[in-house]
Symmetry: C2
Subunit: 327 residues, 2 copies
């Protein structure tokens, strides 16, 4: 019997799950659930679309519900609510609020006896795992995380709120010299400015003062003031033609010393180069859906993160197969 997956919320991540489930023979998609009118939602495949009001009454037909809303307002409510009825997986990525989200979701899932996996994806997610593995191996060392090159949605939004801006995309770019210094075990202390640059592609409204817009971007506190920022003004056509992609990626490095007197240096590096950020994130969530299902079958319950999942639960292969083929 296949693992029956439901998708709650149908944006880029939901579409990614729709594709990812097709790549996993042991899973099937029950439906997409939306707050919109179902007939207005056009899916990539012939998966049924239901209004979210139908979700709870269909609970016996779904093994794992994929929470595909946003971290700002959707997930803090939805994951807590639906963990009362379903094993759930979400991609909650507001790092500072993870402890609070964990506590709320855990209370809900402990009561229902379900598994709720939160903060799954690549950061938080795979990057977190690599930070943990790096830390436990190289105890006397330093952590470095670099993001990009990729679009930061939050920074793009911040530019769009500036008066006179019609549209914008912002790329976060890791600084090669900083990466090289880390890789050569110089253990640099890197400022915000030294780690990443920001490159902005901005469509100005007709007649807008471009010099003022550029100045407002470059001096914006928190978002840009601490970075070396480049601003390019382009047309809407150029933005749509050249900057529609959702590629992203990044690097997690742990460097550290071993030996009686720390005489040996080591570098652990994990990197991702992704053509589609939401589709890759969806693939990670889908693997953790399998783990959620299997862990719950074994009687486990409550809120879990990637730290709590033994890797074998992620794979459809048996322990014997994993040991023979991948160990």
């Amino acid at each position: 019997m296949k693992i029956r997956i439901g998708i709650m919320g149908y944006g880029n991540l939901g579409r990614g799950i729709e594709c990812a489930v097709r790549q996993n023979d042991d899973m099937e998609l029950v439906g997409v659930f939306t707050r919109r009118a179902p007939e207005d939602v056009e899916t990539l495949t012939d998966v049924p679309v239901y209004h979210v009001d139908k979700l709870i009454e269909m609970k016996d037909t779904i093994d794992v519900l994929m929470m595909c809303g946003g971290s700002a307002t959707d997930l803090p409510k939805q994951t807590v609510e639906y963990a009362k009825y379903f094993n759930v997986v979400d991609s909650f990525d507001t790092h500072a609020k993870i402890p609070e989200h964990f506590a709320n979701v855990d209370a809900s899932a402990m009561e229902s006896g379900k598994i709720a996996m939160i903060s799954v994806g690549w950061d938080p997610g795979m990057f977190s795992l690599n930070r943990l593995y790096g830390n436990v191996i190289l105890r006397d060392g330093n952590d470095y995380t670099f993001w990009g090159k990729g679009v930061s949605q939050g920074h793009s939004d911040a530019i769009r709120r500036i008066d006179g801006v019609q549209d914008a995309k912002q790329y976060t770019i890791p600084v090669d010299a900083a990466l090289d210094a880390v890789r050569s075990c110089e253990n640099p202390t890197l400022t915000t400015r030294q780690k990443h640059t920001r490159e902005c592609f901005v469509v100005a409204k007709e007649g807008a003062d471009k010099a003022r817009i550029e100045e407002e971007i470059k001096t914006m506190p928190n978002y840009f003031a601490d970075y070396d920022t480049t601003v390019h003004f382009i047309s809407q056509e150029e933005l749509e033609r050249d900057h529609a992609g959702m590629h992203h990626g990044g690097f997690v490095l742990r460097t550290g010393k071993t030996g009686l007197n720390g005489e040996h240096n080591h570098v652990i590096e994990y990197s991702l180069k992704l053509d589609s950020n939401p589709e890759f994130t969806a693939c990670v969530l889908t693997a953790y859906a399998r783990a959620a299902y299997r862990m719950n079958k074994e009687g486990m319950k409550g809120c879990k993160t990637v730290f709590d999942v033994a890797p074998a639960y992620l794979s459809p292969l048996s322990g014997e197969e994993l040991r023979s083929h991948l160990l």
Copy 2:
């Protein structure tokens, strides 16, 4: 109370454990156990040295015993034997024999109620984990593992067995062009020759026929015939001065496609650059010793591999601390 560690066997790996335990505040070293006369063993620190005959009678003073023997003859016997009395961790690395070793160790540890972690290190170990994580995320993709640059003990030994050879070191070196082809998502099918080259530094005995030695190396089946091999003849002094290091490393890559029609490519890359292969391996074993201890405290038993260990068990930090600092 600290986790009390014993070291069984005192070679490079044992010395690495001796150093690694010092970097972990929640652990202490009880002693080194050896088949040699204890007074002949010179340790790096003031850890007590005992004859192996004392080991079993000291079982209540040791929480986890680190098995530091070789995979060829020591570990298949020792891990099975000592799992009857101790939580144990070994670095068994004969990939083809892992299923058999697992079965033997599991029988022993299930009966004693202990945890026996086998095949811990970087390959098998961290590389295996990255193969697994890569596979479960990118379902439609390819795996690539490259080793080096680093010394292969087995290949160095094979050269030393050739008539007229006094000493030798062999480096395995990944081919940059192959790595680049993988990273650019060309999904190449790589032959043995295309993935790695072999570089040999050989000390010939006085009067030996160097041309014949070189020919014997380059045509040796399994070890060298399928590779582009370079042979350098050097003096014993040069070998000892320039090739005494134990650096190693390698790369695990998973490339794959996502999207409705596989239109998006992704690259996951994990790499290690190690000044000391045995010290890094020891650090991995030490982290898994913590997991073995904690999992056994929770009532788990039997043979485990890195696939079976939820990452949180590896860290001395609490779940709350991990979620706040590393997620």
